[in-house]
Symmetry: C2
Subunit: 369 residues, 2 copies
């Protein structure tokens, strides 16, 4: 069982390989096929976090060494609060100590935070070196690792500092999900549901067929492979058509507008990213219903999936509605002062609008308290 998805960008073309057990063949995958070598240099800097490294570092290094790479590593504390320029400086220092060259490669082994940081370091060391993503969380596999968004947080806002830097390969080993904490699994499922709503009605239907969705162990290997493949495909197609988010790619922000505000206002501590996106999707769905853009029945189906996955659909307690609305204004997706929302039109199709009346927004948020 294996899926290989092509990501086609004007100046970059790379593969997302979803292959159970592939962590032990990372080095071989990084060498590429004989007919299509990847040219990833000799030196590899593996960026990970202590917990992931302890679990999977040795296997990754062994595989890379066997494939002929010279491997160095650096571990960074994981968690949004460590996604800072200071962590990037640690990567820079390791890159310098080990004299990484322009042809060298940084490999991210970890979740979205590690991928974002390793990618930003790769984007900015020697003005850009090779980068490979080996995501270990569901969220990173279906979202963060694909599409080249890299970066860190500014003390006053998430992901404000960053660059587009495409990986040369995304290698997904679904087996590593077995050690993922259930709450993180559910967070990743929020993005999977998102693809179902905005892009892939088939995926949505498959999720509806599942009796339980709140833990990995309820999914068969085949279903997991299907979910990963559909999700990565959705992201790859959207990114391939719009690398820099001038249009289509904005659809991927479904649930993220209000989601980001909720995350940020609760200091990234109360809800995680996926939970915030779930809350944001419930809100956006209701806004779309109120604007008569999609049906009450469809939003209920979406909310049922969110519930089945064990994700929240209410705002965290104590959050001020006025503060949320104010926070939306400072989001980096604001264009000429107008907040852009992604709203669904039907299952599998969404649109972008900056025409949400403030009172509709306020009313929906009030209902979600």
């Amino acid at each position: 069982m294996q899926s290989v998805i092509d990501v086609n960008l004007p100046q970059n073309r790379y593969e997302i390989a979803i292959v159970p057990g592939s962590l032990d063949n990372l080095g071989t995958w990084m060498n590429g096929k004989e007919s299509k070598p990847l040219h990833l240099g000799e030196k590899v800097l593996l960026v990970s976090n202590p917990a992931i490294f302890k679990r999977y570092g040795e296997r990754a290094i062994k595989s890379l060494t066997n494939a002929g790479f010279e491997v160095f590593s650096v571990n960074l504390s994981a968690g949004e609060q460590y996604k800072t320029l200071n962590s990037i400086v640690k990567i820079y220092n390791t890159a310098l100590e080990n004299r990484l060259e322009r042809t060298s490669t940084i490999v991210a082994l970890g979740g979205g935070v590690i991928g974002d940081m390793a990618g930003f370091a790769a984007a900015t060391w020697l003005r850009g070196i090779n980068f490979v993503q080996v995501p270990t969380s569901l969220l990173a596999m279906v979202d963060a690792a694909i599409g080249g968004k890299t970066g860190v947080n500014h003390p006053k806002g998430k992901n404000l500092i960053g660059a587009f830097h495409q990986p040369k390969l995304v290698l997904i080993d679904p087996q590593v999900l077995k050690t993922l904490p259930p709450r993180e699994f559910r967070a990743g499922m929020a993005e999977v549901i998102k693809y179902g709503v905005i892009w892939d009605a088939d995926l949505f239907a498959k999720l509806e067929e599942c009796e339980k969705l709140d833990q990995l162990r309820y999914l068969s290997e085949e279903m997991l492979q299907t979910i990963l493949t559909h999700s990565c495909q959705a992201k790859a197609i959207v990114v391939g058509k719009d690398e820099k988010e001038s249009g289509l790619r904005a659809l991927l922000n479904y649930g993220h507008t209000i989601g980001h505000a909720v995350e940020s206002l609760t200091g990234y501590k109360v809800v995680n990213h996926g939970e915030a996106v779930a809350i944001g999707m419930v809100a956006a769905g209701q806004i779309a219903v109120d604007l008569r853009m999609w049906s009450k029945e469809a939003t209920e189906r979406q909310n049922e999936l969110i519930k089945k996955t064990g994700l929240p659909s209410k705002l965290p307690e104590g959050l001020d509605i006025g503060e949320i609305i104010d926070s939306l204004q400072s989001d980096k997706k604001v264009k000429s002062g107008k907040v852009r929302f992604v709203l669904p039109r039907r299952i599998g199709e969404a649109t972008v609008t900056d025409q949400v009346p403030p009172d509709v927004l306020r009313q929906v948020l009030l209902q979600m308290q």
Copy 2:
């Protein structure tokens, strides 16, 4: 008198406008032509240093405001020692305070250091916003401002942190050079001479015709315009053919291999960048002669130009040859441990090689002590 040079890159196309007095029309230039608007948003963040800002800031702001832009500004200390991530954070903070958007523009008003930093901030704020270069030093006009190289220094190495980020416009007002300190003028002339040697025999001949080259006042307005135009054209063509320095662009590093080592080993305090490049060109010229790649007569013509410009051709006192050679190994242009040199073949033509025997290199450096 005005020259407009096209820079043609696969995904970017922009103009270098060399127009006396154009600082007062910066806003108009940034709006673009009616038939070809530049779409640089509403908000502009002007990045400069205190001395330049005092001299030219008001004129730039007035012109931008008159053209309809909302202008903010931030001043950073100039000088290589301030080209750090800390300075970039200052730009980020100002960008955040003034809520710069994805459509906003950062304008660099200053020399190469300001341009590199403002450009890196533009490359990495909100994953990349618009950028405009208004270079005020000769070095920045003919080199740093063109081609999209941006970045800052790592405590242990120059320009190790950075990104490629092309400007939307380079606006050069030769009149601002009148206030440039003579030593900085000469530093810029080193890059002009470089273009003559590696690319443009016409430019080289024109420089030879000048009786004096060590101060701006010896140049007629026409000669200055010619020098700027030829130099920018050379850089634009090379960059247009090879944005990311995989081949041709490496030619622009003529004089820079040994130059960087000299700068770095003297702590960026004894010689400035142009002086270091002059020393590097003398060295590279002699290496090429010793390897029978170009003639003794040609290298003497080059060295005569360097002398006439008042640039150094000897290594700074007290510099250890062994240390220089060791430092070359850690240069970011090193590929698989081999040091790459750009060597001239004739006036107007150069080549890249990593086949310089260590004893030839050592011998040449010894002669230059």
